[in-house]
């Protein structure tokens, strides 16, 4: 296991930021950490990196307890944060030298390789203040890669990037996983990116984990049926009366009862002379899943 959190709690004064969080990230996975602002994602990442001390519980990274053996735990870990901060008045290369020396001596050849890998060759001697947001993001990846990590932690890496930048970041993360075989923990608000990249996710809500599972399972889960008809209300009432659906969502979709099919629904509507312009099973997106999950968890959180 690359990351293991066991019943971790973090309090800031009276406020509980993370509560009873148990999380396991196996080697080789791209693991997504989702949650609203203030859900506890950054606090959880802070605890993994030994920047935030847990109030209770055990945090292990690369097999070492971060609170006791922080330097050993982080030996092969790289991290990239929401807004990569550098010494803007120094060159990109000098920044890489400074940051890499906090881990281990790094050869100029290794720096050259990594600069090349992220596509900053030719600009590494320029002051960071002259870099675009995308170049800063690449420099952030370069600094994380220098110690030849096995685990990369991304905390909101797409924030502030334009669509091209987000696509580039997604491709880079996929490359890191494919070419370097890294284990990646990705905390992000960009559900589309998480859906495309991650194999497994956990969702935090008000500091508690409300879901953990495979992306493939979420997609395969029973989804909604998109029903295109001029008389949606009548169609929904009829299908509900016949026990085909449990209800309607967003004014254009219905949710089938367990064991019922779209073919049955279509037949009943046609027999009742309700025109059916289209009916098809919609694969559940991560966004649908996430929003349902958060909505369902909200009353519980409000009670707390």
């Amino acid at each position: 296991m690359m990351i293991s959190l066991q019943q971790v709690q973090k309090k800031f004064g009276a406020q509980i930021a993370v509560d009873d969080l148990t999380l396991v990230v196996p080697r080789g996975e791209i693991f997504g950490l989702l949650g609203h602002n203030g859900a506890g994602k950054s606090t959880a990442i802070g605890m993994m990196l030994g920047q935030v001390w847990p109030t209770r519980g055990e945090v292990k990274v690369c097999g070492f307890d971060v609170t006791i053996q922080r330097t050993r735990a982080l030996q092969q870990v790289g991290a990239i944060f929401e807004t990569p901060a550098f010494y803007d008045y120094l060159s990109g290369r000098r920044n890489l030298e400074i940051l890499s020396h906090y881990t281990a001596p790094t050869s100029p050849e290794r720096i050259r390789q990594v600069v090349d890998w992220v596509g900053l060759t030719g600009r590494e001697q320029s002051a960071v203040k002259t870099y675009s947001h995308g170049m800063r993001a690449r420099l952030a990846i370069a600094q994380a890669l220098l110690p030849a990590p096995e685990l990369l932690i991304f905390d909101e890496p797409g924030s502030g990037l334009d669509p091209e930048g987000i696509a580039e970041m997604r491709q880079t993360i996929a490359r890191l996983h494919r070419e370097l075989g890294l284990t990646i923990l990705l905390s992000s608000h960009l559900l589309g990116e998480v859906e495309q990249l991650c194999t497994r996710i956990a969702v935090l809500n008000h500091g508690r984990k409300v879901f953990e599972g495979q992306i493939a399972d979420i997609k395969a889960a029973r989804g909604r049926v998109l029903l295109k008809t001029p008389d949606f209300g009548t169609a929904v009432a009829l299908l509900r009366e016949r026990g085909i659906i449990t209800g309607a969502v967003d004014g254009k979709s219905v949710v089938l009862h367990e064991g019922r099919t779209t073919a049955e629904a279509a037949r009943i509507l046609v027999e009742a002379n309700i025109p059916v312009e289209g009916i098809w099973l919609r694969e559940q997106t991560l966004e649908d899943f996430y929003l349902d999950l958060v909505k369902a968890a909200a009353p519980a959180a409000d009670r707390n």
Binding site: Q51, W53, A73, T83, Y89, I98, L99, Y102
Partner: protein
């Protein structure tokens, strides 16, 4: 590795434009003091003072005398301000900018990180004081001859007069003790910087601490308790010009200042060790 990390901290410190702007401000202040000495009544009054005591002004209004005069406002005002500014920035500014989060995602212990930062601060303080001493002497030498040294009187003491060689040695010694002063001031601001506060707050707290010390130190009731005030010990650089030199007293003050610096560092390190670093 330790020296590579120290070198990097120095790169950060000396790579900033602000560092040189600060140095520039000092040099400017020195130039102003020099011109004021030369072109106001200051010089003529000193000549009168010397003449009234039976000395030739030409023998003592020298590069060494003027260099010391030029240093006074800097020691009293500019140096505490600038050194605490740098010390207050050392940790708090990195937290504010977000670079500390990048550093602390790496396998370096917090204590070691603070140690290299503090040592970089010590180097900075030493370079600042020594550079100022050399520049002041160089400036003064442009306009004044290399003759004996006059030192303004200190409390419970008369003024000092020294031949140029002895004056130079004392000038060098005074700067070594000034380095200790600067390190103490820096350590104080550094300590506050380790806690959860803005860089400016760390600087202001350190300066406030000094200000309160000065005020209480000068209340007559506390006259017998001078040794308890850090600002009293900060005067040790000037005591080398007393005749005879009170080395035990100076040594006691230097050790007190070094102990205060170490204590400030340790308090800062303890505060830094337990705090959470968040974005």
């Amino acid at each position: 590795m330790f020296f590579a990390q120290l070198k990097n901290e120095l790169w950060k410190l000396f790579g900033k434009k602000r560092t040189y702007i600060g140095f520039g401000a000092f040099v400017l202040a020195q130039a102003v003091m020099l011109l004021m000495f030369k072109y106001t009544h200051w010089q003529s009054r000193l000549e009168q003072l010397l003449a009234q005591n039976g000395y030739l002004a030409a023998d003592y209004i020298s590069a060494l005398t003027v260099a010391l005069v030029m240093l006074w406002p800097q020691i009293a005002l500019l140096m505490p301000l600038y050194v605490t500014l740098v010390g207050g920035d050392m940790v708090a500014k990195e937290v504010e900018d977000g670079t500390l989060r990048m550093i602390l995602s790496r396998p370096i212990s917090r204590l070691r990180l603070l140690l290299v930062k503090w040592l970089a601060g010590v180097v900075f303080a030493a370079v600042l004081v020594l550079a100022l001493g050399v520049i002041a002497l160089g400036f003064a030498r442009l306009y004044f001859p290399w003759t004996g040294m006059f030192v303004f009187p200190q409390p419970n003491s008369t003024f000092g007069l020294f031949p140029p060689d002895q004056g130079l040695v004392l000038y060098i010694f005074s700067h070594l003790f000034m380095v200790v002063n600067a390190v103490t001031l820096l350590s104080l601001a550094f300590m506050f910087s380790c806690f959860n506060m803005k860089p400016a707050a760390a600087t202001i707290l350190a300066l406030s601490f000094l200000f309160v010390n000065v005020v209480i130190q000068h209340i007559p009731f506390f006259e017998e308790y001078q040794n308890w005030f850090i600002t009293h010990h900060l005067e040790c650089w000037y005591w080398v010009f007393q005749q005879p030199v009170q080395w035990p007293q100076i040594l006691q003050s230097v050790l007190t200042l070094l102990a205060a610096s170490a204590t400030a560092f340790l308090i800062g390190a303890m505060g830094f060790q337990v705090r959470d670093i968040k974005s």
